[in-house]
């Protein structure tokens, strides 16, 4: 996993609520067996018209937002399907942080598997960031260590994050490797279970 420590990047506003994973990465892009290369499908129906031409007014197609590394969006971002293709596509496109008032749970946890930082701010702070992102200067600083987002005008918003998740994100840890260190405890659990629920061993 890519560590996330601090990021200075352009922020793009996407003021819609309930952006689901079907919108983030439509199903025709799920037939891949790779993790890479999904940027082409990111927000496909928002970015392209029926003939596959770029819609010039969609935020990520506008020249001033090219290369945006942070997205600020409405409530309940990432709802719907569990597809990890959603964070993969965002990362592949260059987005490393999404700011919202709330995230759907599976998407939120998928972000932490990939080094994409989901930041939850209060509604008025998200609104402020949204407004400033529409201005001429729209560079923000996201600092995971300090748990802050500094808006283009210099206002600092603090966010909460689970301390364990934060540490893992800062260090870019491999969760599987970490869990395998507990293999002894898993062995023991399985031994006990084989005695108390033997019918599960015959399957």
């Amino acid at each position: 996993m890519q560590p996330f420590i601090r990021l200075d990047a352009k922020v793009a506003p996407l003021p819609l609520a309930n952006i689901d994973t079907d919108q983030i990465i439509p199903k025709q892009f799920l037939k891949t067996v790779e993790r890479e290369g999904l940027a082409k499908g990111l927000f496909y129906d928002l970015r392209f018209d029926a003939e596959g031409r770029e819609k010039p007014d969609f935020v990520l197609n506008r020249p001033e937002y090219k290369g945006a590394g942070v997205l600020v969006t409405g409530d309940n971002f990432g709802c719907g399907s569990s597809r990890e293709h959603a964070p993969w596509a965002l990362m592949d496109f260059g987005v490393r942080c999404v700011v919202s008032t709330s995230f759907a749970e599976i998407f939120y946890s998928n972000c932490f598997q990939n080094g994409l930082l989901p930041v939850v701010l209060e509604a008025d702070e998200v609104q402020q960031l949204m407004d400033e992102a529409k201005g001429g200067n729209h560079v923000v600083t996201v600092d995971l260590e300090a748990q802050t987002v500094v808006s283009p005008s210099g206002r600092t918003f603090r966010f909460e994050i689970d301390p364990q998740r934060k540490q893992k994100m800062l260090n870019g840890l491999d969760p599987i490797g970490e869990t395998l260190q507990a293999a002894g405890a898993i062995d023991l659990y399985e031994m006990k279970r084989a005695l108390t629920q033997p019918w599960l061993e015959d399957a």
Binding site: A17, P26, R83, T179, A185, W199
Partner: protein, 478 residues
């Protein structure tokens, strides 16, 4: 001294599966939770197996893993085999799954096998899904299995890899919510309506941070199929999982299924399963009550499952929403759906009817739809299809003659799979087409780019097929 409060059903399942608990600063952090059953399918597993290979990690418990091919398979000509799948990328994914399960010794029901079907139909049908278990799958509707009193939820592909490698998952405990539904529903009203009513009430993010237990007399009266519908849709309310405590209905469903314990083991298992219920003094962090008697048949009007309206009602006007974001979302949804605020929802003419998906493609769903369809004809110009949830559901329906009822009325009788629920296979809506669908998501483009989805129960979808527009199933009851 305050006596310790009792445990909820969720607490009990959780506690029974904690392998290790991390507690930095004395606070409960991540737990390593043992996973009893891991279901996999072709779309969210290839990158997980690739990850295992890259790290030379074996699958820890292939015997606790079951694979199906469901998301992108065609729903005709399955007997021709994977090599005949026209879509090249889909074929590659299916072949990759075959290779991965063979290499790792995982049980697999390939496309065309009568036991194959939608993963959330197959697990219960085989008796793999059992009370008190932890069950995960790289698919959000894994919540379906909660109907058996199993803690079941969707995971991402990195977590699929984690479970394959360790048979555990790193999790944080959720809060407890109880949804109590009492009363007796009117004829024509059922589990799908309960679920839509609840989502309409709490919103699509209302369950965030919770596991929901369903209780009350209307829940106890539901069949396993109905409970699965309800738990399936729990994820659309944003909750991690839904649960129904196991009871005689559950045990009767499981008895004799291929993977259910037999003989002495059955008795032993039964004793264990019966320990999974919420103690009378258990505390819930949030509770919601609904009266089944007041729930009308519901349909969705917009592009979020919370956009529900009684079939007798009207599409809401955007102005009726106080919050500016909601107003903007409603405007956008109405524009996409081609509807106007204030128009009666029953005026909406439909082009396609889809009866299928892990929400509503079990035998009872097909029976409910067939009861409405029997002796009637699909309205002119409407394409109506039934996609059974599994090969076994299809076989059962055929043995009851349901296929003939559907085909005589003008429905297509197709082979099992996810089909038009997410339109990853050739079954898709065309832009602008309006669909009465028994599936679970009405998101923009979900059933095909530009397609317009109205979620409803199987009986309601059947009524819409006959009427040619959204219709009140109560006018079709006999």
């Amino acid at each position: 001294m305050r006596p310790m409060a009792g445990k909820t059903l969720y607490d009990k399942i959780w506690d029974a599966h904690v392998v290790a608990q991390e507690s930095p600063d004395g606070q409960d952090g991540e737990a390593i939770l043992y996973i009893d059953l891991h279901l996999i399918h072709e779309v969210t597993s290839p990158q997980a197996f690739a990850g295992l290979r890259a790290h030379r990690r074996p699958v820890r418990r292939p015997d606790r893993t079951l694979a199906v091919a469901d998301h992108n398979i065609p729903t005709v000509g399955q007997g021709l085999g994977v090599a005949a799948v026209a879509d090249e990328e889909a074929r590659l994914q299916l072949q990759m799954l075959e290779k991965n399960v063979a290499e790792n010794g995982i049980e697999f029901f390939p496309m065309g096998d009568v036991r194959n079907g939608i993963v959330h139909v197959v697990g219960p049908e085989q008796g793999r899904t059992q009370p008190g278990m932890t069950i995960v799958c790289g698919d959000s509707h894994t919540s379906t299995h909660g109907a058996f009193g199993a803690l079941a939820h969707g995971i991402g592909t990195s977590e699929v890899e984690h479970v394959l490698a360790t048979q555990t998952l790193r999790q944080r405990k959720s809060k407890n919510m109880r949804v109590v539904i009492d009363g007796t529903p009117a004829p024509g009203v059922g589990a799908k309506d309960f679920a839509l009513a609840m989502i309409g009430e709490i919103g699509t993010n209302g369950g965030a941070g919770y596991v929901i237990e369903y209780a009350g007399e209307a829940i106890r009266a539901l069949s396993m199929e109905g409970r699965m519908t309800l738990c399936n849709l729990t994820i659309e309310g944003g909750a991690r999982a839904g649960l129904v405590a196991p009871d005689e209905t559950t045990f009767d469903y499981l008895r004799g299924r291929p993977a259910a314990p037999k003989g002495g083991a059955w008795e032993m298992a039964l004793g264990y399963w019966k320990s999974f219920f919420s103690d009378p003094d258990a505390q819930f962090d949030r509770e919601i009550r609904l009266d089944a008697a007041t729930i009308a048949p519901l349909v969705t009007w917009g592009t979020s499952p919370e956009d529900v309206v009684a079939v007798t009602g009207a599409v809401p006007a955007p102005d009726s929403f106080a919050h500016p974001d909601k107003r903007a979302s409603a405007e956008r949804a109405l524009d996409y759906m081609g509807l106007a605020g204030g128009q009666p929802i029953a005026d909406a003419r439909i082009d396609v009817v889809f009866i299928g998906s892990c929400t509503n493609s079990r035998i009872e769903d097909l029976r409910a739809a067939a009861a409405i369809v029997e002796g009637r004809q699909v309205a002119a110009g409407v394409r109506a299809m039934v996609v059974p949830g599994s090969g076994l559901v299809r076989e059962q329906a055929e043995s009851e003659g349901l296929d003939e009822i559907f085909t005589a009325a003008g429905f297509e009788w197709r082979e099992p799979g996810c089909s038009m629920c997410l339109a990853m296979n050739p079954d898709k809506l065309m832009p602008g087409q309006r669909c009465a669908s028994t599936s679970n998501r009405n998101f923009e483009g979900r059933q095909g780019r530009g397609g317009r989805t109205h979620l409803m129960s199987p009986a309601m979808a059947a009524a819409a097929a006959i009427a040619g527009h959204i219709a009140d199933v109560r006018d079709f009851l006999r």
